[in-house]
Symmetry: C2
Subunit: 168 residues, 2 copies
DNA sequence: AAATATTTTCAATAAATTTTGAAAATTCAA
DNA sequence: TTGAATTTTCAAAATTTATTGAAAATATTT
């Protein structure tokens, strides 16, 4: 297989993969393209390589920057802006985990805490099942929250860092 | 807060939550409804509670069954079919992990293994970055795969099971 | 076997999401 | 300050995905 064919396949399947994770196809494809580009590239290059419009590139690169996965790079002497992606997959993963935790898990746990305080007869099986389910999810979510925190903070902690290096 | 209000909130936000995880809104809502229903319920009850069509209920319950999260229950003397969801959140999670691993992670790792075998000059920085990126993702994914396997198999293994019980 | 209840299918429709592209805003150089 | 290059915005269009509902299929009862 030649590089160009392999690139196309990688970008395409990374895009499809992204859609299963609540990320839109194009955003994932731009990310893929940046991941395999040795040097920073411009909006125009992204447009050309992926055959998408300028507006589309602009919105999705901004979104990727918001996720902390991509950064703008200013190259001295160049008028255009360049984009570059974090290449260390461990960092990419912890960054995604951190963001999703903040955007999804934390608000969900907050809501569940509210819902658990429902008024009603605990002997009513409907009330009981509701409270049990909510409590169960909350407890589980709380644990997941802690585990993810450990992962995210691993790089800032020497002991954990050394431990987790086995997995890198 | 009253039970009905809390139920509505739970179902609604569980649905929204699901969309971030590649699950469609209605499927997640049906799942939520079943999670808080003490007894198995029929298609008609789901239709009524969520105000959705029969066809929609039918397709999404089938999908939930395919994910191993819901089962058909036959109640003696009843003509209609009833549906019931697994309530143990640990089991629900491992089941979802198992399915997603099978549907997404495994095929991705397989593809990456292919892409790593690209032909080309390793001194070309484009080739090098491509191979490095693919190898990095593959290595990371392989580790994730192992970790997830451990989680999924925990219930079948006494030592691990006891260990993980702390998290339940 | 016929009548009835229930479930399933799927083409048509509706809704949600993504993408475009051109105008507006911004940045930079002369 | 002007003009050219570049980026950003966002309403409209295109695309994708989800939902409906009625007809077909299946299952159950009499």
């Amino acid at each position: 297989m030649k590089l160009n064919e392999a690139k196309a396949q990688f970008i395409s399947s990374w895009g499809a993969f992204g859609t299963h994770w609540g990320i839109n196809r194009t955003m994932a494809q731009i990310h893929a393209l940046l991941l395999i580009s040795p040097d920073p590239i411009t909006q125009d290059e992204i447009m050309e390589q992926l055959s998408i419009s300028r507006g589309n590139v602009n919105m999705n690169t901004r979104e990727l920057i918001g996720w902390g996965l991509v950064e703008r790079v200013l190259i001295p002497g160049e008028r255009k802006e360049f984009f570059s992606a974090e290449k260390d997959i461990w960092k990419v993963s912890t960054q995604i985990i951190k963001e999703r935790k903040k955007r999804e898990l934390d608000p969900m746990l907050k809501l569940l805490a509210q819902l658990e305080k429902i008024e009603g007869d605990k002997k009513d099986k409907n009330v009981k099942q509701f409270v049990d389910t909510v409590a169960g999810i909350r407890k589980f979510g709380g644990q997941a929250d802690k585990v993810l925190d450990v992962m995210v903070k691993a790089d800032e902690n020497w002991v954990l860092g050394s431990l987790l290096k086995f997995f890198k």
